[in-house]
């Protein structure tokens, strides 16, 4: 089963917003719901680039999209791979899969269909700054980014 007409309209809307604010992001494998991803690069204030993959949920826009950092391989200040940290409250990380770090951005209890991928990527952008802050200071990421209330 393909996307419904409403989902196709929503994808069009999402890509329209992203093309304006995050123009490097493009849609891949968009035909089959559950397989579509949006990939692009985010650049930190320090000029470092991160390849981001956002997995478009099959029930778009009704559930939280998974967001992974595909490259570079992320390590904490002490040299440990963030993938090896697994699920981490202080680092805002979800359980990684396929070797990619998954960022905890919105929890299911805070999600609603009015949240666009643009807002999600803004949070990822903030996470990247907090991550680089962690590399400089050693403070965990939640020192910079407070958690949403559960």
């Amino acid at each position: 089963m393909g996307w419904s007409s409403q989902q196709s309209a929503r994808l069009h809307l999402e890509m329209g917003i992203l093309s304006r604010y995050f123009p490097t992001f493009f849609l891949k494998d968009s035909i089959i719901p559950g397989h579509a991803v949006i990939e692009g690069t985010l650049r930190s204030n320090a000029g470092n680039e991160y390849l981001i993959r956002l997995r478009v949920p099959a029930d778009l826009p009704n559930s939280v999209p998974i967001v992974e950092i595909v490259s570079p391989v992320l390590r904490d200040r002490f040299g440990h791979s963030l993938v090896d940290l697994g699920t981490s409250y202080p680092m805002h990380l979800l359980k990684p899969e396929n070797g990619a770090v998954r960022i905890c951005h919105y929890s299911a209890s805070h999600w609603h269909p009015n949240i666009t991928f643009f807002k999600v990527l803004l949070k990822i952008r903030a996470w990247i700054e907090a991550y680089e802050g962690h590399l400089d200071s050693g403070y965990a990421i939640d020192h910079y980014l407070p958690h949403m209330e559960a």
Partner: protein, 419 residues
């Protein structure tokens, strides 16, 4: 006491309509109260019955209902292995007017005893006392989909069965656990069963002629199947316990132009709310949810599975356990009851019934209820004797308009579906 034997009139009609040499039909009976009351079936029961099982044999009686008891007893004993339990014998025939009749005998080691056979009547008579308030013949054709058969959805299903709704699709993938029992219409006899199947049996106890289909699936993982059911219904009732399913069902309700009722309890069932979505005419679920109107009115977490589904994986077990705080069944009941009233209003629309004045009163699409002055209602004044301020144990309708900026039903859509 003369034993009482209840039998479905429809089954006797079926037996009488069978052609060919049908002499003895093996059925089943369930006995109660020291074998003084029996529920007898000539065919497989329509639901999982209760009582103590015993053999039942049905036969078409000869003219005038004459039965050679000695011969019958020999014939019946040769058919079953009674283990000392009674055997119920049904003798089906027709009365002078041509209507089906039934005699019953109960065979025990002591001999044959005549029983008082009573019909569970046909559909038209089952709801005869409702006449005047609801046109049950009209509601018998109505199709309702209920998603979530927990403490909210299960009593709704039962009440709608009592009101004569004829078609149900029950959707839930959960099974009945010990912790559910105190707030659920089903009891310990149903432990471990799918809630859908256990509730189906309860519905059939109220309306044996209801058509009940069940789907033991996760709405969020079986969107196509659920949407097919939604497309075929007259009313969608959502009593599920997570927003993802409500968002998905909201989309289906809009796609198929189906009026939908959503209900939920907040933490410890301190209160709750009910939303009616009239697609494209009023607010959709997302219009309300994303408006901030229900911020601070966190949904009740009644079981760990529910909490795990919405919380990030790193939330500690202790925290999850503290979030599981349930209210009493009596706190859920008003919310379920309001949903039933609103369901009956929607299903009776266009029919001359006593529900039309209720329809006039229920002008709002969103209703709030408080059970206790705590959580979101902590600052409400005491009930006292005033009617001019918010109080517990009263319904309040809130006017909410459709949000034209809603990304689900709002203005970004070029046109509304034509379904």
């Amino acid at each position: 006491m003369t034993p009482l034997v209840y039998v479905l009139e429809e089954q006797i009609r079926d037996l009488l309509s069978q052609t060919g040499d049908v002499r003895l039909v093996d059925g089943v009976a369930y006995g109660f109260d020291d074998w003084t009351v029996f529920h007898a079936y000539t065919e497989k029961p329509y639901s999982t019955p209760s009582g103590r099982i015993c053999p039942c044999v049905a036969m078409r009686s000869d003219a005038a209902g004459f039965v050679d008891e000695e011969k019958l007893m020999l014939q019946v004993r040769s058919r079953v292995d009674p283990d000392g339990d009674p055997i119920v014998v049904l003798l089906a025939g027709t009365d002078a007017g041509g209507s089906p009749s039934c005699r019953a005998l109960v065979l025990t080691e002591k001999g044959v005893a005549g029983a008082d056979a009573r019909f569970v009547p046909r559909r038209s008579e089952l709801f005869s006392r409702n006449t005047g308030l609801l046109e049950t013949s009209a509601l018998a054709d109505k199709k309702v989909v209920i998603v979530g058969l927990g403490s909210g959805g299960s009593p709704i299903a039962l009440e709608l069965a009592r009101a004569g709704i004829g078609h149900f699709t029950l959707i839930d993938f959960d099974r009945l656990e010990l912790g559910n029992i105190s707030r659920h219409v089903c009891g310990v006899n149903d432990l471990g069963r799918y809630k859908t199947l256990a509730v189906r049996d309860q519905v059939l106890q109220k309306n044996p002629y209801a058509k009940v289909s069940t789907m033991e699936i996760n709405v969020n993982q079986s969107l196509g199947q659920v949407e097919d059911a939604v497309a075929a219904c007259d009313l969608l009732i959502v009593a599920s316990d997570n927003d993802q399913s409500r968002f998905n069902l909201n989309q289906m309700s809009l796609n198929n132009n189906k009026v939908t009722l959503y209900g939920r309890a907040i933490t410890r069932a301190a209160g709750g709310d009910v939303l009616r979505v009239r697609p494209w005419k009023g607010p959709c679920y997302n219009c309300v949810f994303s408006s901030g109107l229900i911020d601070g009115r966190e949904e009740e977490m009644s079981q760990k599975r529910q909490a795990l589904a919405v919380l990030p994986a790193y939330v500690e077990e202790d925290k999850i356990n503290t979030m599981i705080q349930v209210g009493l069944s009596s706190d859920i009941a008003p919310i379920a009851n309001m949903m039933v009233k609103m369901a009956l209003v929607e299903l009776s629309r266009g029919i001359e019934t006593g529900m039309s004045t209720v329809d006039e009163d229920l002008a709002s699409d969103f209703y709030v209820w408080a059970n206790r002055r705590e959580e979101a209602y902590a600052n409400w004044p005491r009930m006292g004797f005033k009617w001019t301020h918010p109080s517990i144990l009263r319904w309040y309708g809130a006017r909410i308009d459709r949000d034209l900026d809603c990304l689900v039903c709002g203005g970004h859509l070029e046109e509304e579906p034509t379904t």
